[in-house]
Symmetry: C2
């Protein structure tokens, strides 16, 4: 029976028990401390844990925010220690390598795991705060963590990492204390709760507050608290953490087989006994008043209620951003990450984004099975933040690169790259669409362009770009470039990608809007070898990958240089330069380009 | 204030009040009646309403099943009557035209709107059943409605329509009483609840049963019932009826502005006051024990827990099926409809499916804004059911067509159609991929093929096919033909569509699996005009629509007859026939086909 229960009920989220945190340290900030809501606390106690060593330069500190029900125990401190809630990510040799970084994680204000919250004893009354605990905002939670970081002698964090509700806190820090953090990793989060997530929180709070044992929040001296309401709230939460797919995987095999567990809740179906179990476990370790205080703070949070407000908020930030979302997450759907990414782009910040393909729902950000991408992105992002900080210390940079241990692989050069590079003046700002793993962008960076950015649709390419220290946005070009502002870049490049694009008109129009100049390279169907192939009765394939055929090439557009020139004339866009190339000779084609060139590079403007 | 409340709170789902149903009739079936669960009821009372007139042949009866909280009042009976819950669909001149059809809608067994349920008085005890109401299955609900239909003198229904949970009942009828219904329209439903939807039901029941005023279900003589738990259950339900998009549309403008309403629930956010309002309204008109009894019946329902079981169930049915889903519905996601469609196809039933693009969530099936598609599909489906029933009575068919009022528009003929028709022997079974509005299928039907079916990706084309009385499945060919069994059809046709398909290898392989023979027609890039265009330095476009260019054609594949022949050799598939055509002359090309034909028709087999 026990095994069966474990089999069904094991969850990344249920490892936390209610027992004291052995490695937690405590710091008390004396008051009175005024909150942003107007409330006042006579003192604030903070429980936190640290991992690794702070470097002599204090340039390796990483702060991690936990989500609603987490605590300071982000990772195990040693083999014998209890598991941490993000052991997958944090530890020696892991993605957030505690051999390299000094990691800090603290229980949030309003919580119930060591930091001052509604269940803490008010020193002025000698009784728990209960409903007298003042309302708090996310800003108050962040301010308290900032006090902690400063008390540790850290002026500037290398990075802040926040997943889920912890991401909201990370965002708040980024825009309110811009000069105290170099980079922010925001995973499975958004600028605010979706209306749907907010609605679930409302129902959860109604369940708690209408529990007859809630006693208006003054239940600490009662025999029984609102454990039924809190358990129901938690059941709801658990549904939102999973996806349709992951729920099916977990519960479908024995859908109608409930488990016998000690509960007053329904256990008719396997998923029912799981929810009853999770609800029951939760009330052992969590305080209902904390649930109310924290969800109200989080539900009220809004980084910016309109696109304009969001851009204004992001404009205040000074850090690099890494946003990560998961395709099956419906608590913080990918469109929320995209909204933040778009605002960061519009505010002209350095930003990367990856929408990871996963069927694990919101939980994905805690799972080992999904960690190679979100962990790999975080690892590379932190490494390049470190490098940037050490810009003027080559010795330290070499050491950091040695610690990182991932050398940049040699790049395969394409025939059009030299030409494109020769057409781009120094110091200009460049956006590369369909950037692959970033070969062209890396060469531009080496040449000293400090504002280069890529757009790419393939997940593994996005990961490679971030490994290369590049800013890259995962997006489908066919949906246009709405993330980008008018004339945001000096050059927008589309190299050997036009033939893959269905919505040619939209993409070219958008490129001309976003770039002062546009550079396009593409294969020329007019090339003599292609012509003669059709003369022989066979369809030419312009895909440079020789193993591809008419039926399996990813190319969907075929055009000659003459076709493209006519297209530009018709659409009223000017061709400023045109360099025709022959990839076999590697030379520029001066005459009869529509016959003798297999690749052409064109500079356009409107 | 009242206006403001209405503005926010008006909902298709909240029109029902608790007041008596003026037009409801009642019939009592004397007992004892044994249920499928083993329970026994001393009698069953059924409240029902009817609309329109039963025809002398009794061939126009349409039964509609309501969902969880509905009742017999599916539509208003006249201008002064209360609104019905599906007025959008049902009424004189509407999609389910009560001038043509005799519509029946009854409150379900276990409900609380006139039909026997937990709040009914048990004649044997003189007290409400309460928790002594026996458990029921969906089968019991259906059996009672069948007794009602028989009591009205109807042996065979023209159609059953069920949306949402009503769809589960429609499905159950279809497989258990196959000879008593000609067609079933199942909208926004599934073979069972998803695990996620089941989980929400569990939480809802926990909220009701843990309400201290539940008294184990014996609350009828108490001052207060479990109205808090029931309201919380309803709040949850309302979230699942909406989509992210529709919630945002409804509540985002004044997200933080709660409405002042008379409630003990939280009203801090606009969505919170909406949920409080809906929860409060619901408890005025619905019984908590009914909520438990019905959701337990529905959660236990499973038409078939595996693909094999589902196919076996569908095999028992004898009706035509129309399945409709909505893209943003996450209570009954489209994959559930597809699962049913696939089972119906595998069971070789006549079936159509449309996945309607909508951002309104599950509620879409009740909304006027989405009704032109789901209503139009239902209208056409019912009409063709009627026609089929009158197969031997041309006079009655003419009358039905006159009533329907939508003449089949004259079809534009394509050059390859005659050839394809000539290659298909009589009486064979044909699947047409990318069938458009069904021109070829209609000609095949006219020729006497009684098993023809189409697959089409465009919504308006699917609607046109159903208007034409054809069986059509909305699907993307690039995802393969996994709905279809090996050699399910004699011929699988892909006419002038190959050039639009990215996954050529998969689609052709799948066609050869599903059809004994395969017929493909496509434009030949080798055609002399195309060659000479490339000789002139321009890319040929083989799209027959003359206004399309290299950059905006939907074509993504270009191949010559020779290319295709080589492809077939390499993939080991045999070409049995090849007819090359010239669309300008309209003639067959005998020699030099790779130069002189612009279209080719090929018959393949493996």
């Amino acid at each position: 029976m026990a095994d069966e229960v474990n089999d069904l009920f094991d969850s990344s989220d249920s490892v936390r028990s209610g027992k004291p945190l052995e490695y937690a340290q405590t710091i008390v900030f004396p008051g009175p401390i005024k909150l942003t809501t107007g409330g006042i606390l006579p003192e604030i106690r903070v429980a936190y844990e640290t991992y690794g060593e702070l470097s002599p330069h204090k340039d390796n500190a990483v702060l991690i925010f936990h989500a609603l029900s987490g605590d300071s125990h982000v990772a195990a401190h040693n083999e014998n220690d209890d598991p941490g809630w993000w052991d997958v990510l944090v530890g020696p040799g892991k993605y957030v390598d505690t051999n390299r970084y000094f990691v800090i994680c603290a229980n949030v204000l309003g919580g119930c795991r060591g930091t001052t919250g509604p269940d803490s004893v008010n020193p002025e009354t000698g009784k728990e705060y209960g409903m007298n605990f003042p309302p708090i905002n996310v800003a108050d939670i962040v301010d308290v963590q900032r006090m902690l970081v400063e008390s540790l002698g850290i002026e500037r964090l290398l990075a802040i990492i926040g997943g889920s509700l912890g991401g909201l806190m990370a965002l708040d820090w980024g825009v309110r204390y811009p000069d105290s953090v170099s980079g922010i990793v925001a995973i499975a989060t958004g600028a605010r709760m979706t209306m749907q997530a907010l609605a679930f929180d409302v129902v959860a709070r109604n369940a708690i507050m209408s529990d007859p044992h809630f006693y208006g929040g003054e239940y600490y001296d009662k025999e029984e608290g609102p454990s039924t309401g809190l358990a129901i709230a938690r059941m709801l939460g658990h549904i939102t953490y999973l996806s349709q797919e992951s729920m099916n995987r977990k519960f479908n095999a024995d859908r109608n087989v409930g488990r016998k567990i000690d509960t007053s809740f329904e256990t008719k179906f396997s998923v029912g006994s799981y929810l009853a179990y999770q609800g029951g476990k939760f009330v052992e370790r969590f305080d209902a008043n904390s649930y109310l205080a924290l969800t109200l703070a989080l539900d009220a949070f809004d980084l910016g209620p309109s696109r304009e407000a969001l851009i204004a908020a992001m404009r205040r930030s000074m850090c690099r951003w890494l946003f990560v979302s998961f395709t099956s997450d419906w608590l913080f759907p990918s469109f929320q990450a995209r909204e933040l990414v778009d605002a960061a782009i519009a505010a002209d910040k350095r930003v990367s984004y990856c929408g990871i393909k996963s069927d694990c729902g919101h939980d994905a950000f805690l799972l080992e099975s999904e960690s190679n991408v979100y962990g790999g992105l975080t690892d590379s992002f932190l490494h390049h933040l470190s490098l940037d900080w050490q810009n003027n210390d080559p010795e330290r940079r070499d050491q950091l690169n040695a610690d990182y241990g991932k050398p940049t692989p040699p790049q395969k050069e394409r025939v059009d790259f030299d030409t494109i590079l020769s057409l781009i003046p120094p110091k200009t700002r460049i956006l590369d669409l369909g950037c692959g793993k970033g070969e062209l962008l890396l060469r531009l960076k080496e040449r000293g362009h400090d504002r280069v950015m890529g757009v790419e649709i393939e997940e593994r390419r996005v990961l490679q770009c971030v490994e290369n220290g590049l800013d890259v946005i995962m997006a489908d070009l066919n949906e246009g470039l709405k993330s980008f502002s008018d004339h945001q870049f000096d050059f927008v490049v589309l190299s050997m990608t036009l033939q893959r694009i269905a919505n040619v008109e939209i993409v070219l129009k958008e490129m001309l809007r976003v770039g002062a100049r546009v550079i396009v390279s593409f294969p020329n169907l007019g090339y003599r070898k292609y012509r003669s192939r059709l003369d022989d009765g066979r369809a030419p394939v312009t895909d440079p990958r020789s193993d591809k055929n008419w039926y399996n090439t990813k190319d969907v557009r075929y055009m000659t240089i003459a076709d493209f020139e006519e297209f530009c004339r018709e659409k009223g866009c000017k061709i400023f330069r045109k360099v025709a190339l022959n990839s076999e000779t590697g030379k520029v084609v001066a005459d009869r380009e529509n016959e003798d060139a297999d690749v052409v590079v064109v500079v356009l403007g409107s």
